[in-house]
Assembly symmetry: C2
Homo-oligomer: 336 residues x 2
């Protein structure tokens, strides 16, 4: 199993990528990582981390890529201009079979654009999308799409449901994933025009469709897959991140007001850490690109080494479980 890793993606530079790669290969002996980025720079950094550790060095190699797409570049323009960008070269490796998958914490729009350009779509897929795991009070739920497709037709949402359902079934070992449609009321007929039409498609499908799911049900964990367009999905993701940050800040301000609370905080700190670990995106291993003819995982820009390691793990599992074959099969069955 060889996973290509965009070593220059992410806000925290190549060090995080290298540390994540090291953690991944140390954990699984059958894993190799190809660091994609400027050779000299990466080889030097890698050497600093692996003195005398020959076994590890054999399983992490560098593949040169001269250019980097930054976070604020326009995805479409960037992949057209920067032929030597890490994500372009990375997906070339996937295309040629030199790598089984690519993981990137860089510009997610550009990663998706590069994937479509280099690998193309799976047969039958009209719009590839990005799925993401959301923590809940029970098991994580997979939400798709979180930003690749901002204007969707019912058929697109229907395909997101099929793809995410296949992925969730194999990756999280759900028997028949419960699929919900994100809307503003649980009753049939609630929602905007897109949701109402999608509802009818899903109702008639062989999926385990449980109906509409409201915003307040996302974190309850009573559904395994939630489908929405990329505009709504992205806002759902980002507003959750923003609220979590704001809440921590507001709570800290309250705690700092009294000595009593400060002492209480010292005693409760481990519980906070345990809670944070439960909701930390780093634990969830990134967001799979679904619908492309190959395997790609997008990580949060702020990913640390743990997040990178977990994403490599998820990428390997996606390949192992032949998610793409399952998607093609399911799409064939569901439209037949």
């Amino acid at each position: 199993m060889k996973i290509a890793l965009d070593a220059m993606g992410g806000d925290r530079g190549s060090e995080m990528a290298i540390q994540g790669a090291l953690a991944a290969v140390r954990e699984r002996r059958d894993l190799r990582v190809i660091l994609v980025g400027p050779r000299t720079h990466l080889e030097q950094q890698l050497a600093d981390y692996t003195t005398g550790d020959d076994d590890i060095l054999e399983r992490i190699v560098v593949h040169h890529a001269a250019e980097v797409i930054t976070m604020d570049e326009s995805p479409v323009e960037a992949v057209r201009k920067k032929k030597e960008a890490t994500v372009m070269v990375g997906f070339d490796l996937v295309k040629s079979g030199e790598a089984d998958a690519l993981v990137s914490a860089g510009n997610s729009g550009a990663t998706m654009a590069a994937a479509i350009r280099k690998l193309g779509r799976l047969p039958g897929v009209s719009r590839p999308g990005i799925a993401s795991f959301f923590p809940t009070v029970k098991k994580p739920v997979m939400l798709m799409d979180i930003g690749a497709n901002v204007d969707c037709r019912p058929q697109h949402l229907y395909q997101f449901a099929v793809m995410a359902s296949s992925c969730s079934r194999l990756l999280l070992n759900f028997d028949r994933p419960r699929v919900g449609l994100l809307s503003i009321g649980e009753e049939t007929g609630k929602g905007n025009a897109l949701v109402k039409e999608t509802y009818d498609l899903l109702k008639q499908s062989p999926l385990n469709f449980i109906g509409n799911v409201e915003g307040r049900d996302v974190y309850k964990g009573d559904v395994d897959v939630i489908v929405c367009d990329g505009f709504v999905g992205n806002i759902s993701l980002k507003i959750s991140e923003g609220l979590a940050e704001a809440a921590m800040l507001m709570l800290k301000r309250e705690i700092m007001k009294t000595w009593r609370a400060k002492i209480g905080y010292l005693l409760i700190r481990d519980a906070f850490a345990g809670f944070k670990k439960q909701v930390d995106y780093a634990e969830y291993g990134g967001a799979p690109l679904l619908g492309i003819d190959g395997t790609g995982i997008i990580c949060h820009g702020a990913s640390n080494a743990v997040a990178i390691r977990n994403a490599i793990e998820v990428a390997a599992n996606m390949v192992r479980h032949r998610i793409n074959e399952a998607i093609v099969r399911a799409l064939g069955e569901h439209t037949a």
Copy 2:
């Protein structure tokens, strides 16, 4: 100032309404409340709370309404069938001038439908909507629309911006409210088709438009008004409520794991309470209906007496500040 109160709205029955009304009239001597609902039931309950308090009894009266629209009824059907529903009778009072505004914690769709049916729209308004206050790490932000209009055109979002800006300026005393457009990236040209077209309209307007605002910026408090369609707004609101609930549950589970953390919780409890008060919708006084020819406030179904009291207060302030006149004037200027 006379505020009509739907005494039968809300999940917690007429007691909350009566307690909220009592709190409101005790606080402001220039305020009268008209409880709208079944006369015998309400007068009996009211008598239980106000033994010997003649001054208060003079300022709370009951206006009979025989029917109640429940939470799960279809708004359009309900307002067509139930002519004697509390919200219908309540808006009749506003129409005739017997009340200055109506407050309801009942079925919000039905309250909006009743408002449009009984009072009609303000001149120049194409779609009335529901605005709501979101707590942030700084001042609260007003988001519109939170659910009345699920399929919108750019012109509708533009009018939401004008209406919410007028309301926010007068109610929260902002000089020139900063208006943001909810989207999936800050840069111009990011977003779905609706947002892109709305962006151009807002850019050319005399509003203090600061551009796109991402989901993660909603709780930062760097913008005073956020505009989105009712589908996205409703999901933003509900996902926030759901996350807050889930987070509290997960944190509590972690705390219950050790004695140390349990003791810490006892010391930190007041800080938690202070934090909860900051984010509690009850403190924000309900969601104003904007664009109707009259004043109406929708409260959360789970409203307690504090929430009802604050909503009555906000309703009175909306009337005092002549929000509707400001909206009509602003719409006239902005389309001229």
